[in-house]
Amino acid sequence: MSGLSQSAQEVAAGRAASPHTSMFLRMLVRAAVLRRGRAGSALLAMIVAAAVTTAMLNLYVDVQAKLRREFRNYGANIVVVAKDGASLPPEAFAQVESAVAGRGVIAPFAMVVARTIDGQPVVVAGTDFERVRQLNRWWSVSNWPSASHQALVGMRALPVVSPKSQGFQLAFQGREIQLTPGGTVQTGAAEDSRVYLSMADFVSWTGVQPSTIEVAANGSPEDVSAIMAQIQKTVPEAEVRPVRQIMEGEARVLGKTRATLLAAAALIILTAALCVLSTLMGWVFDRRRDFAIMKSLGASDGLLNGFFAAEAAALGAAGAAIGFVVGIGIAAWIGRVNFHAPVAPRLGVLPLVLAGSMAVTLLSAILPISLLRRVQPAVILRGE
């Protein structure tokens, strides 16, 4: 009883405070306030559905960029080589770097066959350790050399050039160099049989310029093609090749993952929409007495439709707005947990979610209303 008198006081206070509030608005607000429980559960369903939808759409848009970053750890997807196995011109590296312009990691490689002190041939490569470290993250390196004349020795080359990890000599075309093993590298592939030097040591010893520049370009296949075209334009004397096995594998895995995610998103959104539909329809159906009273007091069909539609629209909009914020939070959390980088909020998703919510709520208001309209108000009021 106290609840009733309190609400009566509220009504009186509300009327005193805003004598010009339109009847329409007051009816909307009072309906939601008086049936808090039902309105609350409908709003909750709306929020959850909008949140899940927002999160799925955000993830779907962003997952490609996230997974591409993982694929960049495979290393180069573009290789720049001199035509016919010659050296690239000395300025080629700077040109490639300017063409890539920060859209990826690049590293130069130069190679010769040198001989150890007992005449064993071994492949010696010159490179930039700092760049290789970023480019080829899968290299298992015991210690990256930092001083000059320190070499990074492949696991299989180690027993040949420096079995006791002592300093060693290498000779190339009569010129010798004294090196100390700064660390070992293990990859399970050709790198294990090589000795790596810093580019400065390598060029001053052999006089051979880089013959290969490896580029790990970021972005979509179109971005990578654009970068390739730009490199080709800046360094016309070089041959620019895509690393097909990486590019094709990446495209396949990304395509399948996105398709799976899309299927999942479709299922989830469908379920959420049906959940909202059934809750809201229950809510509207539940208010058939209000409907009957309004109708018997002479409300037109248009006004009744407008009233319930406005109510549904207000609920849909409120649910979509709150759900959008929650969904952005969920997507960011999934990004942090799974990809260690937040999923950037896409505002472009908001109109989609809003429109979808409105459509579902309006549908769930109109369906029961069109059922109720056929019934005489007196029948409803008698509780039949």
Binding site: Y74, G75, S193, V253, T257, C275, T279, N338, G383
Partner: protein, 421 residues
């Protein structure tokens, strides 16, 4: 009386029961399909990742260094050790043989190529294309076409017993040779069945059947290295440990997990005098990509389960709320809280079991469709999951009904009958 109440409720309120049952069925369908996809996605993506190339390499144990620059092998071809081709079927005899999707032996030989009086030094790579094998009762085919799927051939792939070869596209350009031409290779006349484009060192090489390479080298049955493509599990702390320092039980667990390391270890056991190692570029990154995708689908599955649980709860709550008058009548006639609640719970359980069963079947079909549409292969749901799914369906239905039932049994029958709630 109790059974009749429940039975009549289903008989007389078909529409409402159908709606609630449909919601439960839909929820269970979505949950079942997503669980099936989530449990299978690792295997499916793993197979897609195999298109990036082999992740394990077998080399002779006592090998000399590779001296190879830009596809040109500077090591004397007969130098160093070889593996025996006859040992290769043993790869299918290892513990994880079902995880090995293919292997390709390689034997590089230095040759001189002749065409129209032009002579070039080049490298000829002997390998399997699609070789048929039998190990025990098992038949399988393997070769570069499964381990190196990015190789594209303009023309036809040579047979493994033929004397046809593939010509790398850049070598073909330099020689001016094309599909169908004959080239001289170290004194033999061979037919070019196709031009190979690989985007790698093979573009400057000739690729030939293994037997032909062995014949040119004069070493029958010899293989220099073997690329193995295996489905592996992402590396964890256990994988990185040294098997020699493990105690019995931990060693068994390591040995029986498909880590790249343990499969390499088993390959080494199977092939005498060999050294097997993971190709880190492929193996390491594959683990990372796989973990990410599995994690993503797992989280999405949780979202799907949440959404379907919510849909079921909402449907149940609405269904019970609509029956306040009935509850009022029951209570006015003297039914206790327990009696009213048990009628509702019995109905909920029946709905959940029925909806769960239909949903499980529908979810299985849906998962199969998703598998066929996206991965061109089956995704099936294990029948053992049926009781689990049914239990979840019942729990979710109960949980969804609980609040509404509580409200229904505590309300005053007078208000309910007057329809004032």
């Amino acid at each position: 009386m109790f059974a009749r109440l429940v039975y009549e409720s289903f008989r007389r309120q078909k529409r409402r029961k159908l709606l609630a049952g449909a919601a439960i069925t839909l929820g269970v369908t979505v949950a079942t399909a997503m669980i099936a996809v989530a449990t299978d996605i690792g295997d499916k993506i793993n197979r897609e990742l195999r298109t990036i190339g082999a992740n394990l390499l077998i080399t002779p144990q006592e090998d000399t260094l590779d001296v190879e620059i830009g596809g040109v092998n500077l090591k004397p071809p007969s130098d160093g050790a070889f593996l025996k081709e006859a040992d290769l079927p043993q790869i299918k005899g290892t513990f994880w043989h079902n995880n090995i999707t293919g292997f390709a032996p390689m034997l590089p030989v230095n040759v001189t190529v002749e065409r129209d009086g032009r002579r070039l030094d080049a490298s000829l790579l002997g390998t399997y294309f699609t070789k048929r094998f039998a190990y025990g009762k098992e038949e399988f085919t393997t070769g570069v076409r499964s381990t190196h799927p990015w190789w594209k051939v303009d023309g036809a792939w040579p047979g493994d017993e033929s004397r046809d070869v593939l010509l790398g596209e850049r070598l073909a350009r330099r020689l001016g040779a094309n599909t169908g031409d004959s080239i001289g290779v170290s004194g033999r006349s061979l037919r070019v069945s196709g031009v190979l484009s690989s985007g790698g060192a093979e573009d400057d090489e000739i690729v030939a059947p293994l037997v032909l390479a062995q014949e040119i080298l004069g070493k029958p049955g010899a293989v220099r290295r073997v690329y193995v493509s295996a489905l592996t599990k992402p590396e964890d702390a256990l994988a990185r440990r040294d098997p020699k320092s493990m105690s019995g039980a931990i060693y068994d667990r390591w040995y029986c997990s498909p880590y790249p390391q343990s499969i390499a270890f088993q390959l080494q056991e199977a092939i005498p005098h060999s050294h097997a190692e993971q190709i880190r570029q492929v193996a390491q990154n594959e683990g990372a990509v796989l973990t990410r995708i599995e994690g993503l689908i797992f989280l999405v599955t949780l979202a799907a389960l949440l959404a379907s649980a919510l849909a079921v709860s909402a449907a149940m709550a609405t269904a019970i709320f609509e029956r306040r008058a009935e509850v009022g009548l029951m209570k006015a006639l003297g039914a206790g809280k327990v009696a009213v609640a048990s009628v509702f719970f019995a109905e909920a359980a029946l709905l959940a079991l029925f909806g769960g069963m239909v949903g499980f079947a529908a979810g299985g079909v849906l998962a199969r469709q998703i598998g066929r549409a996206i991965f061109d292969s089956q995704i099936s749901i294990a029948p053992v999951l049926l009781p689990v799914i049914l239990a979840i369906a019942v729990i979710v239905t109960f949980a969804g009904s609980a609040a509404a039932i509580r409200k229904a049994v505590t309300m005053d029958p007078v208000f309910a009958l007057r329809g004032e709630l």
